[in-house]
Amino acid sequence: MKKEPVKIKEVEATVRSGNFDEVILGYNEEEALSEAARCLQCKNPLCSSGCPVGIDIKTFIYKITQKDYAGAYNAIRQKNNFPSICGRVCPAEYQCRKACVLSKKGLPFASPQAINIHFLERFAGDYGMKNPASSPKIQCPGSNVRKVAIVGSGPAGLCCAGELARAGIKVIMFEGLHKLGGVLRYGIPPFRLPRNILDYEIDSLKKMGVEFIPNFIVGRNKDVDELLGEGFSAIFLGLGAGIPSFLGIKGENLCNIYSANEFLTRVNLMSAYKFPKAHTPVNIGKSMVVIGGGNTAMDAARCALRLQKTNGISPNTTILYRRSEVELPARRLEIEHAKEEGIQFKLLVKPQEFIGDEKGFITKLRCLQCELGEPDASGRRKPIEIPGSDFEVECDIAVVAIGLNANEILTKVTPALKTDKYGDVIVDKETMETSIKNVFAGGDIVGGEGTVIEAMGMAKRAAKSIIERLCNQR
């Protein structure tokens, strides 16, 4: 048995940082076989317990070792509709890989020895994409006369749509933006999730009969009561986390200070990196900083660096984070990729004030140095500002990537929909039903900011409840 993990092929850092093409090239057949062969096929596998949707990892890896790639694909599809997407964006080192028996225990994330489950998932997913075979339908009698509305076409909505469509339920999906995919489209850059993968998955849903209505804002064009009154038997709300948080410090409204949402939406959804061919502009600086340490911060920084390089500006992008490297919440792979590409990390710093010129554009950022104190509610050590340690960082663009709050566009106009103090929708954890009967919810609008796969886990639970409800109502 091969002991060492099979390294994944990637485009070389100096090359890839000059474009927006996919960074990770994936395993070929030989590499996948070799990595799959490392799996111990544990009698009582732990890996699946680390997966928010409970993929039968042992089985799908076994099928790969048997060269039954279609079988591997279908094994994943039993639990996860979008293996090609999740194989690319899942923080596996915090989930299935961390639970893998080969991973060293006691670390905050998986050690490199853990099976590269995500890369194998991607391999099987991409195989399934290239060799389409119809997936089994679990039709419940009479369900095809009922229709369900899904609000929001992000990971939760797409997943729920797939589950319902497979059960023969008519799904109509409403999306407020002009393009489908939610955060997968406006948030995650194409170099992490190529658009053809996302388009393929959306197209397969269309082929399954899912109807998409973009530019339609539920809460504006129609409200929840109207949808229920128009013959929708159930509604699933996958509204997402909407409103960007800002630091609340002086000078934050200076020109060229972006929320990560704005910066990434301009670049990813509106293709500002193709300006002027695409008409939406984004400003590019000589010295760009990104504040935050999550995946969104990594995405923003790597987009910033690519914009600099593609515009002939010598790359100079820095991530500022208030804790130390081990606490960075981003996927380890993204942190490594960011470093390889030349992103600088200034750790243990806390921004205090943005400073601008007379035209109102940002020129620098005043920060305080921090040290780590006792663990806080999140279990991570708390950053404590060191008085008098002020210093300034020169910058002409700043991107604030410190998180999002609940999207309120629907909840504000739906008083019967109970929300918590964060504005997130309250649901029954088992059924995912909200305070309104036959209205379900999942994804970031329920749990606050989470991962794609967590959103999908919630969407699956909701879909299961909806299917049961619809079948019983017959």
Partner: protein
């Protein structure tokens, strides 16, 4: 899925300054839209998302009118579209509707293409039995739009032009100041126009302590609260024009900041305009 242009009307065309009105087949918007709200639209698939106020809704609630001045790249692109053509995308209604009280004494001030935005508001006030005084301002007679429409919904009606070619020579604020000085009973001043005009209106009404609302034209991307591009400082707090506005208390708006933020992409705009002329 795309939105068809049903009619197009050139409201003004003076030395390259075109003001265009288009009627769109937009039932989903029209059914819900109220005075003061806006839509966000994309002229083409490569286009920007730009917010434009809903200038009118037809009686059957199937179409909306939007009015824009061909000022930048996207509005010029929009101006090239003809009846039968389609917009790539249209979403709305967005923003809070104007709060319309009853039996009040209101002054509505519109400047330039901002007149398009005050029309539905003035009409809504009139319908609810308010006493409506309207003041319109334009650079010259040719650039004055919707005069007849607004005259019909106004109890008192004034026009000013910068060059004196029509109405009173001068600015809307000259008349506004006279009115406020003469009578104390005004409950509200509502103003839409170029930023310097709205700011001037705000400065004019402040000493009289009259509630003054302005509809701000901040830059936007998604226009549903997701990006924060449109943030403005109002009363020392950061607000998003798209979901918290677009109307705000004029006396609390940080005008300097708004003016600066609206110039963030000046260089890019010049660049893309130059390229498109080639």
């Amino acid at each position: 899925m795309s939105t068809k242009i049903l009619e197009k009307k050139l409201l003004a065309d003076v030395s390259g300054s075109k003001i265009v009105q288009i009627k769109l087949a937009a039932k989903d918007v029209a059914v819900k839209a109220k005075a003061g709200q806006f839509v966000v639209l994309m002229a083409s698939e490569e286009g920007e998302r730009i917010p434009l106020t809903i200038a009118d809704i037809d009686e059957n609630k199937t179409t909306i009118n939007i009015i824009f001045q061909e000022a930048g790249f996207t509005t010029r692109l929009l101006g090239k579209l003809e009846p039968g053509d389609s917009l790539y995308a249209l979403a709305g209604p967005l923003g809070h509707p104007t709060e319309i009280h009853e039996n009040e004494d209101v002054i509505i001030v519109g400047g330039g293409v901002g007149i398009a935005e005050i029309y539905p508001v003035a009409r809504a006030f009139k319908v609810k039995g308010n006493h409506v005084t309207t003041i319109l301002g334009a650079r010259n007679k040719e650039l004055l739009i919707l005069e007849e429409e607004l005259r019909k919904v106004s109890d008192n009606f004034y026009i000013t032009t910068d060059d004196g070619s029509y109405g009173k020579k001068g600015f809307v604020t000259d008349i506004l100041k006279d009115l406020l000085a003469k009578r104390e009973s005004y409950n509200l001043v509502y103003a839409v126009g170029p930023i310097p005009m709205m700011r001037k209106v705000s400065e004019t009404t402040k000493p009289f302590n009259v509630k003054t609302l302005v509809s701000l034209n901040a830059l936007m991307v998604d226009a549903t609260g997701m990006c924060g591009c449109c943030r403005v400082s109002v009363g020392g707090k950061t607000r998003f024009s798209c979901v918290d506005g677009p109307e705000f208390n004029a006396h609390e708006v940080n005008w300097d900041e708004l003016i600066k933020r609206n110039k963030i992409y000046c260089d890019k705009e010049q660049h893309i305009c130059k390229l498109s002329l080639k």
